[in-house]
Subunit: 221 residues, 2 copies
DNA sequence: CCAAAAGTGTTAGTGATACACCCATGT
DNA sequence: ACATGGGTGTATCACTAACACTTTTGG
């Protein structure tokens, strides 16, 4: 039996890409080169192609914007209100991604004149319902950081406990007690101390690495 | 600027509807009356209409199947693999709903020859990737029961602590200690003891009601 | 008075928090 | 020798888990 073709909504994937730079949690935003919301900042995304899985579409967009592969990526929520896009019915499957503190080459594309990292503390005016999406992503990020091991996704392979603690302090925007933090992290038995030490000024810190493979996230509830 | 119309995926909402009957957690399934997967059981759902919000579509489907309104409903996940529907590209936004133990009038529709409650312990063969969706919903249900107050969504307005405990025991498929359970629940200060007692054989149990309005779910982490 | 479910406290162990000083290195 | 971040232990408190008997009612 063949079904008549009813009009269909458009489907996009948008990706809230977080990273940590300096003392700030940053989100990647793009400036729209086309209407609607021309010259307004937005969460990067694009239409889902017919022949590509949703998650693959998200990965493609992520790589197009940042040049980065193999990072933590998770589906966030699907936004499907009728009136959220003035052009017509658009359903957006939002993802969020965490990038380690590496140099990314941000790229402009046909629809986008500029891409930049913004502190989540003071985002610019955002197109569509993207502020809502960003807030939702932040909530989920904090939650995941508390109850899983995704924090490691922000770090390079080798890192110090102080670096790790700083990730938590930045994301939650508060200080933690050094001894308690270390006790708790080490008691989870997720880290391996490696011989190497961090070079640089002052007393060198021990480097650790995550025992599990990259991308393997553990619930530590 | 008008964008050319590219081919678009179809979008459906499917709803995993749970309730508790007797000593079993049940899920509502429908038998498909049309191809593909004709006469195979499936999670109820349907196409999203252009002029209706996603969540509204889910509520409509829910009411069509069960005649019930105002129940707990939450977006679960969006399934968007290319090959998940043999008819072509279909993206499914899955929801899950919890029904109190009430008499529902299950309804057949044009696409559905029958609707029935199945124990989640032994579901029949399911169409499409619906087994995956069901498993995902179960996982989320258990999680939510542990860390929020959705358990009350399974109960009528007035209930006994034993009824509440039984919900937990059924969903987690294990026994809990009566004293510890009561202590914990009561310490959350969510329940109000009401004067009424449960009538029936043996010692009558105190009835309680949830202090918050229906649908108000609280994280109790 | 018997059957059945309701109701109730204490103890031990575990994990969370609060808190301050010495150490290793580079300059 | 000093400035800077690295590294460590203990005591208290709150929460969790284990465990068994008495009470109330209907029949």
């Amino acid at each position: 039996m063949k079904k008549r073709d009813y009009p269909k909504p458009s489907v996009t994937v948008d990706i809230v890409i977080f990273t940590i730079k300096g003392d700030d949690l940053k989100v990647l935003l793009v400036k729209r080169a086309i209407k609607p919301f021309k010259d307004i900042w937005a969460i990067p995304g694009g239409f889902v192609r017919m022949e590509e899985d949703l998650e693959k579409a998200a990965k493609r967009e992520l790589e197009e914007e940042t040049g980065v592969k193999n990072v933590y990526l998770e589906q966030l929520y699907t936004f499907g209100e009728v009136k959220r896009d003035p052009r017509g019915r658009v359903i957006t499957v939002a993802y969020f991604a965490l990038l380690p503190q590496i140099k990314t080459r941000l790229r402009a594309t046909a629809d986008v004149s500029e891409a930049r990292w913004f502190s989540v503390k003071k985002p610019p005016e955002l197109a569509f319902d993207h502020l809502k999406i960003l807030k939702y992503a932040l909530k989920r990020l904090r939650w995941k950081l508390e109850y899983t091991t995704i924090a490691f996704s922000f770090l390079p392979e080798k890192f110090t406990l102080t670096q790790l603690q700083k990730i938590y302090e930045i994301v939650f925007n508060k200080k933690f007690d050094k001894r308690n933090f270390r006790k708790k992290i080490l008691s989870l038995d997720l880290l391996e101390k490696i011989k190497e030490k961090k070079k640089g000024a002052y007393r060198p810190a021990s480097l650790y690495k995550f025992k599990k493979k990259i991308g393997e996230i553990i619930e530590v509830l």
